[in-house]
Amino acid sequence: MLKTILFVLVTVLALNLKAQEPTVSEKLTEVNDKVNGLLERVATDEADLQKLAKIKVSGYIQAQYQNFETPTLLAKSQNYFSLRRVRVKFTYEAADGIKFVLQPDFAPGNFVLKDAYAVVNDRWTKSWSLWAGKFNRPNYEVEYSSSQREILERSLVVRTLYPGERAIGAKLEYNPQSTPIHMQVAILNGADGITVNNAAGTNLNAADNIDYDNSKDVMARVTYNLPLGSFGGLDFGAHGYFGSLKSMTTLTYKSDYTSSTPSYVGEKIGKNWLGGEFQLFADVLGGLSVKGEYISGKNASIGYAPAGAVLGSANFVNNFAGSYLYVIKNLGKRNQLAFRYDYYDPNTDIKGADVTIKQYDATSAWVKKASSKSDLATTTYGIAFHHYLDDNVRITFNYDIVQNEKVGRTSGISNIRENYTQADGQVVTNGIDYGTIIPQNVFSIRIQAKF
């Protein structure tokens, strides 16, 4: 009896076990379902990833230590650490040929939106592109990335003509596939970074997001890449600026400090200049380049009208010239040496010796305008050594030797002198003498990390 019961139990258990175990076909179906489920999830994740892949984030941080040579110990700090640029660039490629770029600069105390533009490329010839928003003005040094520049800051003429480098407007670019020519034409508000003060000292152009006058400025740049066989290549070109500022007053002075012209409120005071550029790349001794640009023309600043007892300030139109020349040599794969000559004369109509002597006569209605240190030319010799620790980190030692144009001297003392205050608070009268070269050299050590 017991045997029979045991036999029945074992048989039932065995059958039960067999019944619980899935068949191969069931197992396959289960695995198949699981795989299909996974494939669906992978497809969803892939679709999400593809959306994310359209967003590219890059940026760089430039931390630096600088030492400024000064006439003597000033109250102002002579050396400090600072963050020169802290930039993050977001690029969103919405579709093939359509791109949005946003680049804020998070430098402490100087948060600013550097770039914010959309680019639409033509999809047929792949040669034309239309830009709209805030972008770099068309100029070689302006468009050359700060993270690659061989001397730490742009040349003085470029910094003066294109404050903040960017401008708001629209730009058409032509980069044909078959010819190494590149053309850019931009229409800009033209007042970006410019101060237009009224009699009360209020900047009428403070909201430089919009234009303070109705006239638009035009910029154009054309370059051509000429291959020079195994020697290297020569890129050359020109750019021009054709713009104006709206006069807020009734008189315009010129930089010869002799002639003046009547103006009217609303008159377009022209600011036009032309520049020629070249970049020679030579495959000699492991990579050498020589790059230069010369820009010359007429710039303008706007005054304000006399109002009752308040004297008026005339517009000022100055003929200027500026140039720079870089010589850059690569030293192996990780080091680079650069030298730059940088010259800017804000007033080519008068020489240093004539500064303060040349002036407009005083009148009862207008602020007296005399030539001053702002008419002096500046020459800067820059030398920099870069070491690339890896693809992302660059250490730079940069020394700028800054030399001002000297003004005329009478009996050993020049006619432009300035007081300065020492660290202990004592004022040194006429301590800075523009009849000599004022010590203003700058030594910088910069670490740049890119990602």
């Binding site: 291959p227 030579a282 495959d283 492991g286 990579g287 050498l288 040599k329 030293l331 192996g332 794969k333």
Partner: protein, 279 residues
């Protein structure tokens, strides 16, 4: 004045030191990176060259033409292999970082091969048909004389030179979103091998276990498969040069290696490995 002389002397000393440093002999290891199309040939070249030049140390890796060129610009490789020409934006980056325009060396020729599964009845396609297939305009094999089955597209990732070359010269537009991108020509061949209705493209040297589709310039032309003869005569319509890019004109061991590649021994290996010689 003394101070100025001291400064001048210091600057001159640093300059002389740096220039001397620039010309110190670099170690003779050559790194090669880039095109997956070229990688098996590049590895063979390195292997054979090192057999006869015991002092040479050549390291070859793939990753795609774009990856190789980026590495060249970043200083991470000495030679970038590419199955397409360097783009203007890449040249500009090289100019900015190294002040050179780069040196281009055409080292082999290739016929971009269209891979089909042996089960597929289709044997030839025109450039226009290929374009429409990869754009997603033609989606069924019956539209080009095959079975009533959906076409499965396989291609390369956008860092690949083959991807760029095929897009610019055959597709002439955007790839269909259904095109499955794979990391390497071998993966494309493998996918087509397993998929009766798949189609892929890539280097001729990888074509194993699949059927090579004949290609014709247009409907009126004859169709050809890529062979040394049809590539030399230009009858096969999708041919291209394969390149090596360097930052500067090669010197020392690198020059010796490149001269060897372009010489009889190197070009013989080109043929042995299923590619086509430059001349």
């Amino acid at each position: 004045m003394k101070k100025l002389n001291l400064l001048k002397s210091a600057i001159i000393a640093v300059l002389v030191g740096l220039v001397c440093f620039a010309f110190t002999a670099a170690p003779e290891r050559i790194t090669v990176k880039g095109s997956d199309t070229l990688v098996i040939l590049a590895q063979k070249w390195a292997e054979e060259y090192m057999k006869t030049n015991s002092g040479a140390n050549i390291q070859v890796t793939g990753g795609g033409s774009g990856v190789g060129i980026s590495a060249l610009i970043n200083g991470a490789t000495d030679i970038a292999n590419a199955s397409r020409k360097m783009k203007q934006t890449e040249k500009d980056k090289l100019k900015q970082r190294y002040n050179t325009l780069g040196v281009e060396v055409a080292c082999a020729k290739d016929g971009i091969t269209i891979y089909l599964n042996p089960a597929n009845k289709v044997t030839e396609l025109s450039i226009k048909q290929l374009s429409d297939i990869y754009k997603g305009v033609i989606t069924n094999w019956k539209e080009v004389g095959g079975a009533d089955q959906s076409i499965k597209l396989y291609g390369r990732e956008n860092s690949s030179g083959t991807y760029v070359f095929f897009q610019e010269n055959v597709v002439k537009g955007d790839y269909a979103s259904s095109c499955q991108t794979l990391p390497g020509t071998a993966a494309v061949v493998n996918a087509v091998k397993k998929d009766a209705y798949g189609i892929g493209y890539g280097g001729a040297a990888y074509a194993e276990g699949i059927v090579i589709c004949k290609v014709k310039k247009d409907d009126k032309s004859a169709a050809f498969v890529p062979t040394a003869e049809t590539i030399k005569t230009g009858e096969y319509p999708i041919t291209r040069f394969l390149y090596m890019y360097l930052r500067n004109r090669p010197t020392g061991e690198t020059k010796k290696y490149i001269d060897w590649i372009l010489g009889a021994e190197g070009q013989k290996l080109v043929v042995d490995m299923g590619y086509f010689p430059v001349k």
